[in-house]
């Protein structure tokens, strides 16, 4: 096993991508993810890859369209406002079935907002902020090590389904340093892409496009895509259960918030509350199954997000009325304290008569 290295989250993502065979990066500066393109600008030339600072986020995602179509494993990264600008491009990539990995180091919104950590782009990521029926797998890692592993996996998943994959971080995950290990066996080699436009030398020409003029054709295309998305729902959903065996209250949180909730969970348990946690690792497909496994003791859910409440809808859809679902959130970089989560748990316990 390799040595742990102390790395910034943004740099760890970049290194993970390169080890996953990524050889094309295009992006546009934006805080709090700048270390990622900066790292790429140094590393890509070393591995014979391409680093491009695009003129805008719009250009960057469309460069990815071209590069992915030409067969490269490719990455772009940005933060909230920049990701909004990529929505048309993401929709095009889904339509033309082009793989890519897209990193969103989420910051406070809406508008210019601020550059502090947030989770308020959940809807955009999981519902598709662009037009049309499309989906992307969305990972929500909670540590740098997990981020490294999921970024590497993201490239495989993207290629497997010929579809973009998104990784949601936040200012904390992007900026913090933590030891990470790059296991040598994690190195991936891109598979052949018999659809890439590489010049029609001795073969039929290839066309990549998302236009289907005839309604019947586009309808057919959409249901074909939907079948792919259904495959993802079946196969790609991931989550972690924490102390759920005897839990009466269940926290639901992802990413940085899940870390805070873990501390809160310990505190609450010390205070006598039987609390567990479901930590979605994929935000889409949402790990609905995790909620089906809830024990008989479970009385209610508390969803904690750095937003005014977005994932809470997916939890309600997963729970489907079986138990109450409460919400606690902070926004705009105002990260909640573990104690505030404990207080919210205690309120919920009181409301639901838990522990009485």
């Amino acid at each position: 096993m390799s040595e742990p290295i102390l790395m910034k989250g943004n740099e760890a993502i970049a290194e993970a991508a390169i080890r996953a065979g990524c050889r094309f990066f295009a992006g546009y500066p934006i805080t709090p993810q700048n270390e990622l393109p900066e790292y790429m600008s140094r590393r890509m030339p070393e591995v014979g890859g391409v680093f491009l600072q695009a003129e805008s986020e719009v250009a960057a995602i469309n460069m990815l369209y071209g590069a992915s179509g030409a067969g490269a494993r490719c990455l772009t990264s940005s933060s909230s406002p920049g990701i909004s600008l990529k929505q048309e491009g993401i929709s095009y990539m889904c339509g033309a079935e082009l793989p890519a990995v897209i990193i969103n180091i989420v910051r406070g919104g809406p508008g210019l907002g601020n550059i502090q950590p947030a989770q308020s782009d959940y809807f955009q990521a999981t519902r598709g902020g662009g037009h049309g029926d499309y989906r992307t797998v969305v990972y929500g890692p909670a540590s740098l090590q997990e981020m490294v592993e999921l970024v590497m996996e993201a490239f495989d998943v993207a290629d497997r389904y010929r579809n973009p994959v998104m990784v949601l971080g936040d200012g904390i995950l992007g900026q913090m340093m933590e030891p990470v290990v790059f296991a040598d066996d994690q190195v991936r080699e891109p598979q052949p892409k018999p659809w890439a436009t590489t010049g029609a030398r001795g073969r039929e020409r290839r066309v990549l496009s998302s236009i289907y003029l005839e309604p019947e054709d586009l309808d057919h295309h959409n249901w074909k895509l939907e079948a792919k998305y259904e495959q993802m729902r079946q196969k790609e959903a991931r989550y972690e259960l924490v102390q759920m065996e005897d839990a009466e209250l269940c926290l639901v949180a992802y990413g940085t918030t899940a870390r805070i909730c873990r501390t809160a969970l310990e505190k609450a348990r010390s205070a006598g509350l039987k609390v567990g946690m479901i930590r979605p690792i994929t935000l889409w497909p949402f790990p609905v199954k995790a909620f089906g496994e809830a024990g008989a003791n479970l009385r209610a859910y508390l969803v904690v997000e750095m937003s005014t409440g977005q994932m809470v809808e997916d939890v309600r859809l997963a729970v489907n009325g079986a138990r109450p679902v409460a919400f606690y959130g902070k926004t705009g970089g105002a990260v909640m304290l573990p104690q505030q989560v404990v207080d919210a748990l205690q309120d919920l316990a009181a409301r639901e008569g838990v522990g009485r």
Binding site: R23, F24, A26, V50, L52, A54, E55, S56, V58, A59, A60, N62, M63, L64, Y65, G66, A67, S68, G69, A70, G71, A72, C74, E88, G89, Y92, A96, T197, T198, G199, A200, R201, G202, R205, R206, V207, L208, S209, S210, I211
Partner: protein, 250 residues
Amino acid sequence: MKKIFARPRSLKDTLMHYCPGCTHGIAHRLIAEVMDELDIRERTVGVAPVGCSVFAYNYFDCDFQQAAHGRAPAVATGIKRVQPDCIVFAYQGDGDLASIGTAEIIHAAARRENITVIFINNAIYGMTGGQMAPTTLPGQATTTSPGGRDVENKGYPIRVSELMATLEGAAYVARVSLHNPAGIARARRAVLQAFRYQLEGKGFSLVEMVSTCPTNWGLSPLAALKWLEEHMLPAYPLGVFKDIQGGGQG
């Protein structure tokens, strides 16, 4: 009996969907002829825009990508950087290139991207039914400038070749016209030069083709050619605006 003029190999058999007399078809054929001449069909990747030529990929017998509106230069950049041995060209209309795609075309040139862009300037949005383009002439009536383009309110046409020629990264920028056989012959030479430069790694090349849109100009194909000659050519002078191997406005 020898065939002295034949359909180029690089063009497919497919019927083109363009309106009668639309010069898009001529532009396509010229590109295909040059692909034949340089023997690059098997290593060429084209990028189709959004505009009447969105289906260009149906007509060329080479690999193709269809790009989002205005983003063909960014898409072409992605392809070329990943496949530097491919010959990559983007085909764009004036709405696509000079309006929504202004940033992408300028930065592709500034970046010295080693690609070729064929730019069809027909002074109108053909595909969407005849709205004003950045290249619409002063006074020209369109569906969004019904009283004629009024420069006080709607501004002046953008001269793309002149603009692009200010960029150091551009190796070759020329404006040609498709309104008669002589113009078409010159256009062919410009396309050949542009692709040659790419083959030689000289950097960004752009050929602006002054073109017609009989349908949305509301003119017969022949009247459209005449209108082009009388109105477009004075506003869009032909010539080579940039050539890193010497030469210039001419």
